[in-house]
């Protein structure tokens, strides 16, 4: 099965098409989806109030009672998925490359949204940096994907990250247990991040973490003396001779990844490490294999 290189994928005109292209191609590739959708079921009537859409008015009841009632439906999907996307400044790296972590994350979010919606699961979107920037409650309607795409396409990188704070913050939006898809570089204090994500698990949510990292962060391909400036804190600068630290850096970076890997594994949280040169299908594959 051939995967599409993320850079090649960028040549497609917009995010929606790209997401469809990846998912359709992927599904065709695996022939069937392991998920089955559920239709919506009528729950009760509620008296009409200003602002309710007219299409939800039950005209039969009006004919009988001469009062406006609107129908309320109970979702009967098995899954309420929240895609939690990190758009902090550290995600906008490497700034000079076509595929940075931010772009990669957007695409992954789009692809996963499409995949879930296609399977009649409801999908919500939470976009954050050091605060929740956007929140779209999970829905399953056919136009919902366009909403998500519109939001994703208009996103720009935000401020610094405070993952643990954000997790505690958005937990209050989660009315029912569901699937939380976490897309982030997790550049925060690992112990705090692990603790907060574990708390989601304790509240019976399924959690899958897509850890997005740049090849530049992995390979550290710099030479000579470089003045490094923190993307999230411009006043934080370090000047160093890169040849001297490359080995030590790689070691520390791997330790950082390992810390998450082990932490999530021990907590039964699915963890998927994706580099910006990894085809998105690998992420999908990883997701689906873990959701079987």
């Amino acid at each position: 099965m051939k995967f599409i290189d993320p850079v090649t994928l960028l040549k497609l005109s917009n995010l929606e098409i790209r997401a469809r292209y990846v998912v359709e191609g992927f599904i065709t590739g695996i022939h069937s989806s392991p998920y089955y959708g559920h239709s919506l079921e009528f729950a009760q009537h509620r008296q009409y109030s200003m602002g309710d859409e007219l299409k939800y008015i039950d005209w039969k009841v009006y004919a009988r009672t001469d009062k406006f009632f609107v129908k309320q439906y109970q979702e009967e999907t098995n899954l309420r998925a929240y895609i939690v996307l990190d758009i902090s400044k550290s995600m906008k790296f490497p700034a000079e490359e076509k595929i940075d972590k931010f772009t990669y994350g957007l695409h992954l979010a789009a692809v996963l949204s499409y995949l879930l919606l296609k399977q009649d699961d409801s999908v919500g979107l939470i976009v954050f940096d050091n605060k929740i920037v956007k929140f779209i409650p999970p829905r399953v309607q056919s136009g919902h994907f366009s909403n998500i795409i519109n939001i994703l396409e208009n996103l720009t990188a935000g401020e610094d990250t405070q993952i643990s704070k954000i997790i505690y913050e958005f937990t209050k939006f989660l009315k029912r247990r569901g699937l939380i898809i976490f897309i982030s570089d997790l550049f925060d204090k690992p112990q705090e991040v692990l603790r907060s994500i574990k708390s989601l698990k304790f509240t019976h949510h399924d959690v899958i973490v897509f850890h997005i990292l740049s090849t530049y962060e992995r390979d550290f391909p710099y030479t000579g003396t470089v003045n490094f400036e923190s993307s999230e804190n411009p006043s934080f600068k370090i000047k160093t001779d890169t040849e001297n630290i490359v080995r030590e850096y790689k070691s520390i970076f791997q330790t950082f990844i390992q810390e998450y890997k082990i932490g999530f594994r021990n907590s039964g949280i699915d963890y998927c490490l994706l580099y910006t040169d990894t085809p998105l299908e690998v992420g999908l594959s990883s997701f689906l294999s873990k959701r079987k």
Binding site: M91, D185, F187, E217, P234, D241
Partner: protein, 685 residues
Amino acid sequence: MNIFFLKPYLLWFLPICLIPVILHLFFQKHPKHIIFSDVRFIQMALKNILPKTKLKQLLLLIIRCLILFLLILTSARPISYSNYIGKNNKVKQIIIMLDVSYSMLYSDTGIPRIKEAKNFVKQLISELLKNKNNIQIAILVYSKHIEKFTPKFSSEISYLQGFIDTVNPTYNTTDLINSLSFAYKFFIEQPSGDRTIIIISDVAKHIIQGLDRIEIKNKIPEFDEKINLIFVNLNTKENNNTYIRTINISLEKTDAVMNLNLINYQNIRKNWCLSVELNNKEIFNELININKNVQLDYEVKVPLQDNEKEISGKVKLKQDNLKIDDEYYFVIRNLKEKKILVVDGDYSNTINSESYYLVKAMNSLKKNYNIKVISDMSDEFIKEKLLKYDIIFLCNLDKIPENKISELKNFLNTNKEKGIILTAGDKINSEEYQKWLSNVFVKEVTDNFHITDIDRTIFSDSDKFELDKLIFNKIYILNSDDSKILIKLNNGYPLLIQKIFENNSLFIFASTIDSLWTNFVSKPFYPYFIEKLINYIVNENTEKSQDNFIIGDTVFYTFKDNVETINLISPDNTVKTFKLNTQTIKFSADMPGIYKLVINYRDTVKETKLFAVNVDREKEEGNLEMLTQNELKRIFGKTKFVVMDYNKDIFKEITMNIEGKNLSKFFIILIILFTCAGILLSKKM
């Protein structure tokens, strides 16, 4: 152990060692600016490796500085030296060669270099021998040859210093190779221990000219590369010397024309005051301009005084730092205007006349001679005062008037450098000549005569002419008793005889000097014959003697029997008296200037003779440009040699050079080791 440097001035470059530190501190490469997602990892990496890296960087910096430091130390020629000289220390033999050539008279501080050199050698001896029992010194004083030397090596300070006190400058040129040869032989004759030659000189280009290594080995068979050479350089870069290189003097009737060749060995174009003195009186003075390092040909014409037979003088450049070659002494013999009288027995302007041919032949002499032609038949000859002439030709005269005979006798006896040439011909009446010259013309003979023998002292170039083509059809047989035959014909008949009278000579030619009896006049030999004969008469007494010498030439003079003593007055007015056992004096002139010989005859008559002596300029002694290290290297090859400038540290430098151990190799090994360590360290980083 002390460390000393042979080229300590190079230690001034030691601050160069700080260049890596300066580069490290101030000239680091401008770093690239990169915005990184999370610098916390870099910070942690840096924190972990920083102490190690800093240590390595520091080490690398120290190594770089050390390499530079050692490079500078090595180039300064480090010598390790211990003050302790044990009993078993090897004997060290040193030959000190002191240059006393005239270039050492150069003085830019008011003290001539030779004087500085003598003081230096005395102090050097004292420094080298102080508290040492293993050093032996010999001294060679040299110029173009060895002037004097100590017969053996000595360790006695007072003896060696006393020897130096007896050294005087000479006016000779320098020939270092010749003198070095003597030094190497000296070592062979008295071999022992380590050997060093210290040459105290101006180390100028003239001391060794055009030699390379192969030639020096050919010139000095004893040349030994193991013998250390130390040149003590008394020279400076700014030499101030312009001098008169050569002078050619030619005499015209009343003037001396001097063609001077001047050379400016200074680094600046300059005006020089050039003057000419004759008999201590300045008669010419002009400013001339000579470009730097340029030879200038310059012509000076000075009038001569009539009444002086010998004129001494000097050409003088305004004195510079080497004064001795700024004066060029000369002696010229004043030819004045010589007068020749031709008395023609058959006077006419036609081609048959003797005087016609004679005047033609004397054409080249016209600038120095005043020639007058008269007929023997005219009253003019009767009235003519013969004594005012220098040379008289009597050509084919049938007789000589009686009043003229006594005049001719006086002519031959009274003045020097005069002569009469009597030629035969068809008009000669031999009986008429009896009153003056008895039986000189014997008889006429007719035959085909050829020259068989010729006096080469007068006619030195006669071989160049085809003498066998000269035919004399008729001659007078001459009575050659008491005469010298100068040219002889076949059958033994003389063609030219010389009768010597008290002071002057009578020359008698047996044939005609026109075309009547011979084809002689139509041959190239004829003008040569006449010219040489006249020159011989005029210069008879002086042509063999020389008036101008260079230092070191042997001055040689021969005198007549009646000379009793000769006083030689030198330019410094010292008088040396020669009592003549043989009729020659021979001596070597050792001082430039005008010398005067006072010749005392037995009959109390005194005569003086001047001659000039100059320093030798041909060997370019006045060119004081220093020999470069490369030139010396080319000449001396693998020999360990060092050139030391004369300064206050030189005694220490020489002592170290002789007694110390060269640390250069050790330092080079250290440099290599540090370089390797630096490379390894930088790779690991």
